[in-house]
């Protein structure tokens, strides 16, 4: 009797285990070891999967697997290392000569040459191709002709790009930009095979690149199966047999599927489950810093929010926010209280420094005093605007407002202002319709201090949504960009950041971490500084 029960349970357990493996392996019976297939949660990419058209993390996941560019950011340190680049030389920080390594091919056998890069970059920059990351090529000479602000393009290619040999090409920039080579690890600078241009629709249906994986099948909106590319010439070969990306309608469902053993990797653990991860997953949970900072921006274009002396008001508001408590309670430590306007992933050498200091520390007494000295909140009540449809911002906005209200002793000082859709929120932000502070988030494109400061706070910069402007800041940024010595350049950027602190041009809130949970089938799971899983290093047990 006892034995029979036992056998029954064992059989049941085996059946369950078999079922779980079958599902976990994407149903192809991939087995373990180097051939094991990892299933991972995914979201439908918002844009067609072209390198220069992908500006969000879901499409970025695929690009990180099927493309390798001139540079590759080290998954741990974020340092830009040569990948396809044999060397990138410059004497004046304006003209660069790039030599591509020999022996690299696309997975369809085509050689990766200098032309593969130049054609790809010209495609990405040209207005008629609607590439949303086109502005990345904006530093290259001749960008104005292929991507004019108004009117039709007057050239097909950028004059600053010249193929000088099978493996060499030159880049001429419009201004000095000493760290330009370090930006080339961004996916938009990937090389493209000829098939991309000759049969574009077929390429989109099944993208071909030069990375450690190849696309095996892609059914839009449900899943993408990627296989290890055995002929991959690089050193970072895939440690597993392949990755199956499964589209989930909700990250909570993906998490539940992970707990049930049907999925190997979830790279976006929902906030509401963070309290359960240790019970559900034990130590199969990672929480590592990523190059993302969240801030509160101010509408400097609104006269009520742009009076002299209001830097005290803004500093006071910053000090009224209890960052430690909010990151701990609302975010369960998946955010780190901000101490500057950049990100810890830059490291001290890259320019991360606790510049904000006491202005980012919770101090209700001082906060109340500063707000009063700064003329009080315009109109007595302020709103913090956010979009309601994605990102669950409501909770932290409510918490920030409660924190401000408690510090100021006024329950009506701050209220959240949800805006229905992200598109509407962005439309209102970019047409300067905000009447009070609004949420802003910045995910770095490349791990450089320049990327955290110039696009956001330089006068009229592309993402300077609050229209912050300080000539001193602009001057220091220009000097930093012209400086060829990296350490000196970083020092100048930090001086510019000090100017930003004096104005409190935006309130730094917290740095976002990447968080991920994984099944007991896999190991060696890490996230890179862009919070994308390092798929090629995942090992299947």
């Amino acid at each position: 009797m006892r034995g029979a029960t036992h056998a029954k349970w064992a059989a049941l357990a085996t059946a369950v285990a078999l079922a779980a493996t079958a599902c976990g392996g994407g149903g192809d019976g991939g087995g373990g070891g180097a051939d094991g297939v990892v299933s991972s949660s995914w979201g439908d990419p918002q844009n067609p999967l072209e390198p220069a058209n992908t500006n969000e993390v879901q499409g970025g996941k695929v690009l990180s697997m099927i493309f390798r560019g001139l540079k590759q950011y080290d998954p741990k340190t974020g340092e830009a290392k040569d990948m396809l680049a044999e060397k990138i030389e410059t004497t004046d920080s304006t003209n660069f000569t790039v030599t591509v390594k020999d022996g690299w091919t696309f997975s369809n056998g085509e050689q990766v040459t200098a032309k593969s890069f130049v054609d790809a970059w010209n495609y990405g920059a040209h207005l008629k191709n609607n590439q949303k990351n086109a502005y990345f090529f904006g530093y290259i000479d001749g960008y104005d002709q292929v991507h004019p602000e108004k009117g039709a393009p007057t050239a097909e290619t950028m004059s600053g790009l010249k193929v000088t040999g099978p493996r060499t090409f030159t880049v001429k920039l419009t201004q000095k930009f000493s760290t330009f080579p370090d930006t080339l690890g961004y996916a938009a600078f990937s090389p493209l095979p000829q098939a991309f241009f000759t049969d574009h629709a077929a390429w989109l249906a099944k993208p071909v690149g030069n990375g450690p994986y190849t696309v095996d099948s892609y059914s839009r909106g449900s899943q993408m199966v990627l296989k290890k590319w055995d002929g991959y010439p690089g050193t970072d070969k895939a440690q597993n047999g392949g990755i199956t990306l499964k589209v989930y309608t909700d990250n909570n469902t993906a998490y539940t599927d992970l707990v049930a053993g049907n999925l190997d990797l979830v790279d976006d653990v929902p906030a509401s489950q963070l309290k359960n991860v240790s019970a559900d997953l034990g130590d199969r949970y990672i929480n590592t810093p990523a190059g993302i900072i969240q801030t509160l921006s101010f509408p400097f274009y609104d006269p009520a929010w742009n009076k002299p002396g209001q830097e005290k008001l803004r500093t006071g508001l910053s000090m009224a926010i209890n960052r430690d408590q909010i990151t701990e309670t609302i975010f369960q430590k998946t955010r780190t209280p901000a101490k500057d306007w950049t990100s810890p992933v830059l490291g001290a050498d890259g320019g991360y420094k606790e510049i904000c200091g006491s202005a980012c520390e919770y101090n209700p007494t001082e906060a109340k005093k500063l707000v009063a000295e700064g003329g009080g909140i315009p109109g007595g009540t302020m709103t913090i605007s956010y979009n309601a449809d994605t990102g669950s911002h409501k909770e932290w906005v409510d918490a920030v407002c409660n924190s401000i209200n408690n510090a100021l002793g006024n329950n009506k000082a701050c209220v959240g202002n949800p805006i229905g859709t992200f598109a509407d929120f962005r439309a209102q932000v970019s047409t300067q319709k905000m009447k009070g502070p609004f949420r802003a988030g910045w995910q770095m494109d490349y791990p450089l201090i320049q990327n955290f400061l110039q696009p956001l706070y330089f006068t009229n910069a592309s993402s300077n949504d609050g229209k912050y402007s300080d000539p001193e800041f602009d001057k220091l940024v220009n000097q930093a960009n012209a400086e060829t010595d990296t350490t000196k350049a970083v020092g100048l950027f930090q001086q510019a950041e000090e100017v930003l602190k004096g104005d409190m041009g935006a309130i730094p809130l917290w740095y976002q971490n990447g968080s991920a949970g994984y099944s007991d089938r896999v190991e060696n799971v890490t996230l890179n500084p862009f919070s994308v899983p390092v798929y090629d290093q995942i090992k299947v047990k």
């Binding site: 949303k132 539940t256 599927d257 707990v259 509407d424 962005r426």
Partner: protein, 307 residues
């Protein structure tokens, strides 16, 4: 009868145009969708203008509508912002949602009407009270929580079901999501049936049928139930459309890539082509369901007749 059906089918034409125009205008009123495509940063103005031109958003609304309708009649429903044709989205989403809706409607019919008959015949009985309490739970606890708990218990703790439905979404995987989706409607169907049964069980024809010595089962199904079903059928008919287009929460929880999910995505991304395309098909479903309901009236109550 035949003429009546033809008239009703003809009436669909103005409704079709009216509804598409209304939805088209509503999505347009929401404003500029392009700003949302560039993430947390501003689209560069040249690219934004180029995108607007490509999606035809630079033309006046009436011209956009005419172009859209013109394309519609050639079978072209336009393109979503991710470059996927809307017809492809619909071909993926509708079969799944239709299966889910069928499961939900079956639950409403089987469980809802059965419980309604039982509680209607036994008012005040403990069964009646239990069903009332269940109704209150379903109404006051969001479907989100019900779905989450069901998923957690059945999917993770007990392992009876897969927590997430596979992309193919066969019927057996949709049983639990269908039940969750039907839960609120079940409350309506049960109470509607209960009230009708309670009202009609004292009707003279029922008493006569009982007096004639007909078996209890026959009295209930042939006489009592048949005459009590009109409000229930009306409700279920109207619910078909609501379930198909409004299963947003259930579809999200159980990872069903259906109409509700796609429609919601289309709306928050302000993608006119997706939204109008899906709603157009939904309107046709509404109209057909209503026609069916009206024809059922005549079956259930032969006094009602169609010229």
């Amino acid at each position: 009868m035949g003429r009546y059906v033809i008239r009703r089918l003809l009436q669909m034409i103005p409704v079709f145009f009216g509804a598409t125009l209304l939805i088209f205008l509503m999505v347009n009123v929401m404003g500029d969708p392009i700003a949302g495509l560039c993430g947390d940063r501003q689209c560069d103005p040249a690219t934004a203008a180029q995108l607007k031109k490509e999606f035809g958003l630079d033309k006046p609304v009436w011209q956009q509508y005419l172009t859209y309708m013109g394309n519609l009649f050639t079978g072209d429903f336009g393109t979503a912002f991710n470059g996927q044709p809307v017809t492809e989205l619909m071909a993926d989403a509708f079969p799944v949602t239709i299966r889910l809706t069928i499961v939900a409607i079956l639950f409403e019919i089987v469980i809802g009407i059965t419980l309604g008959v039982i509680t209607g015949l036994k008012r005040g009985h403990p069964v009646d009270t239990t069903v009332l309490l269940l109704t209150l739970v379903v109404l006051s606890v969001p479907i989100f929580v019900i779905g989450l708990l069901v998923q957690l218990l059945l999917g993770v703790k007990w392992g009876w079901i897969e927590p997430a439905v596979s992309p193919e979404a066969p019927f057996d995987e949709l049983i639990v999501p269908g039940l969750v989706l039907a839960s609120v409607s079940l409350a309506y169907v049960t109470r509607l049936t209960r009230t009708s049964i309670a009202e009609n069980k004292r009707a003279d024809y029922v008493r006569t049928a009982v007096a004639k010595g007909l078996p209890r089962r026959r009295v209930i199904t042939r006489h009592l139930l048949r005459n009590s079903l009109i409000p229930v059928v009306t409700f279920i008919g109207a619910d078909v459309g609501a379930l198909m287009g409004g299963a947003i929460v259930t579809e999200r929880i159980f990872n069903i890539h259906g109409v509700g999910y796609q429609l919601y995505q289309g709306i928050v991304r302000q993608n006119t082509q997706t939204v109008v395309g899906f709603v157009t098909v939904l309107v046709l479903v509404f109209l057909l369901a209503n026609l069916l309901v009206d024809l059922l009236y005549a079956v259930l109550d032969p006094r009602i007749r169609y010229a």
